[in-house]
Amino acid sequence: MSQDQPRKPISERIWDFFASVKLSFFLLLLLAVLSIAGTLIPQKEGAAAYVRAYGEAGWRFISAIGLNDLYHAPWFVLIMALLAANLVICSINRLSLTMRILGKDPAQEAGSMRKAKDSFTLTGEPASNLDKARLVLERLVGNSAQAKDGERTVLFAQRGGWSRFGVYLVHTSVLVIMAGALVGNFWGYSGFMNIPVGSSVDHIMLDNGQAKPLGFTLRLDKFNVAFYPNGMPSEYRSEVTFIDGGKEVQKSSLIVNDPAEYKGIDFYQSSYGNDLEAMEVELIRADGSKQPLTLKAREINQLPGGAKAAIQGWRERVQMGAMYDGPVARILYQEKGGEPQAYTAFNPGVKMPQSGPLKFEIVKVQTEAYSGLQVKYDPGVWFIWVGCTLMVIGFFIAFYFSHRKVWLRLSPTGQGRTKLEIAGATNKNRQSLARLISRLSHELGGGPKKAE
């Protein structure tokens, strides 16, 4: 760190930069702060919603830097990639150090005893105490090595060296999770399908609005909503049949929290509702004459006499206080040779301002129930579960296991007695080392000692 040292070559400085804990610290906090922005600004809304909330200029700014889909914006992904690079390089740097520590010759380590933390005198010469000391040390710590230092003998043992790999396990797990997310992003897809009861559907609508054929067909045999006594829904259940190559291959019962899988694709109970099939209406002209019509949904209806009509939109139930409670439809009607005009239709007998020379009244609404399924294919999901498991295991190793080294030194005191000194070192968790030393001291005859 001294300033007199010659400057390192640029490649090494870049390496050191990426290997530093400071960079990890900074990147983790940066990701945290940027993520906050994504929870304050609504994500993945339509342009109109942003213009309404932030104005034209605000929306131009938001869309320019991708704040409307922050977590997938290139710069956000880049910061995650930097964190990944930081993880890898920092780990490589540390790993060589760790291997050097673990590769040390125990006999040599025995010769470099640390400062004694405890010492007491035993009866008998060192030679007669050596075997007992070694036995206790090996039982409580591990295989021992021995070094001579003139008249003095030093025993060395260590345990938990493997726990130094815990941190690498954690870092690897983060990379595995990131890899899983990438795999899902590149090779996975997600979308939804609405299946009317009794119908079959062979494609899904992807999140980007495109249709994607499944290669097989799903038939909704039954859809049921169960309720609690207080009226709250307790269960949504879709009974579906998978049809592949013209054959019924699988029957599944889909409920929330219990999806079905076919050919690696998962189907989730997501929503339900009623779709309009057709509407029976009555067309009332200014002269009071009435004409019954049946208008099909989702198409332009050719009517007798050359007129055309279509249902632009509808609501199953609209409540307007005491004025109205019932279905409402918006009907586009075009007389032969005339201009199309939009009318709002209500149930019969309702006094509403008329929007044109004609009036439409809703006589009957034909709907069909559909079940909405979320559909997902994600080959990366197993990476995620493996990564999560490794991470939790890695945490336990990294935080609750330590590499502890213990030295015992036996020296003659001159009166046929032995001075026994205990020293220890650990890479973390000093209390656990202190407990180990006090146990050793107790078993070797140092008398009961309170833990620090």
Binding site: V21, K22, S24, F25, L28, L29, L31, A32, S35, I36, G38, T39, L40, Q43, Y71, A181, S190, Y228, P229, N230, M232, P233, S234, E235, Y236, I255, V256, N257, D258, P259, D266, Y268, S270, S271, Q374, V375, K376, D378, V381, I384, W385, C388, M391, V392, F395, F396, F399
Partner: protein, 274 residues
């Protein structure tokens, strides 16, 4: 039985208040009597609170809508108070530093007090909440939150008792280490909470991660504590900075818990039906 459980919860709230006052007296007057009384009252509160939670569980089964009492804000606040008291008492047993109680136990009281302002009635589970992962997710998350709550209490104590003036004193070092240890406990449990949550989300919503505000804030909290744990390896971040950091982290926890539900909208808002 539901009514009995609710009455006990009211009593427990004021028991935590009494314990908080006793711990504060212990701290102010350095009196052992207050300390022993405070511990006794807190143990009693935890025991009775456990009973109330079990009664509530049993009551829900008697109503025919049996589910673990971890399903809404009211029940989570009650359980949060339980986890704070439990983790604090474990630390008290291992350190005998009762002054910590003056900072930790009031948090349990506040959690209970907030719960008392809410509707305590037992309601059936929405379909999305009907999962075995509910219990694992809530228990891990709230034990984690409680670990962070206690570490923030330790951080506040570190600052309030002037440890920053002599960061090398034995007491300051013990506190610094306790902050670190409780953050580690919280961090592992928060990780487990996020993992169980994403397993659950994967089976309920078809995606293990959807950047929903609650998920994102739990990740923000995780990132903040991850940086705190890394700061341990940088010079000069022990002591006062650690104490401040633990308070900032707990601020993130509180926002994840309350702020997201109150201020932001997302999948976790179980106030409205599907």
């Amino acid at each position: 039985m539901e009514a009995l459980s609710n009455q006990i919860l009211v009593a427990v709230t004021f028991t935590f208040l009494a314990a908080s006052v006793l711990y504060l007296c212990h701290w102010a007057f350095k009196s052992k009597v207050f300390g022993w009384a405070a511990s006794g009252v807190t143990w009693a509160a935890l025991g009775v609170l456990t009973l109330a939670i079990v009664l509530r569980w049993v009551a829900s089964h008697q109503m025919g809508i049996g589910h673990a009492p971890f399903s809404n804000l009211f029940e989570s606040l009650v359980f949060f108070a339980w986890t704070i008291a439990a983790i604090y008492l474990i630390i008290e047993l291992s350190t005998w530093m009762r002054t910590i109680g003056a900072f930790a136990v009031p948090l349990a009281f506040l959690s209970m007090l907030y719960a008392l302002t809410l509707d305590p009635s037992i309601k059936p589970l929405l379909p999305a909440l009907k999962s075995n992962w509910l219990i694992a997710h809530v228990i891990t998350c709230f034990l984690g939150y409680a670990g962070f709550a206690v570490s923030a209490a330790l951080g506040a104590m570190y600052l309030a008792t002037g440890q920053a003036k002599d960061p090398a004193s034995p007491r300051a070092l013990v506190l610094d280490n306790l902050i670190y240890q409780t953050v580690v406990v919280g961090f592992i449990l928060l990780t487990a909470g996020i993992v169980t949550g994403s397993i659950w989300a994967n089976s309920a919503w078809g995606t293990y991660w959807s950047w929903d505000p609650k998920e994102t804030w739990s990740l923000i909290t995780w990132l903040v504590y991850a940086s705190l744990l890394h700061s341990r390896f940088m010079r000069g971040w022990q002591g006062k900075r650690m104490a401040v950091f633990s308070l900032v982290g707990f601020g993130c926890v509180l926002f994840t818990y309350f702020g997201v539900n109150l201020l932001l909208s997302g999948l976790h808002s179980y106030a409205t039906g599907k």
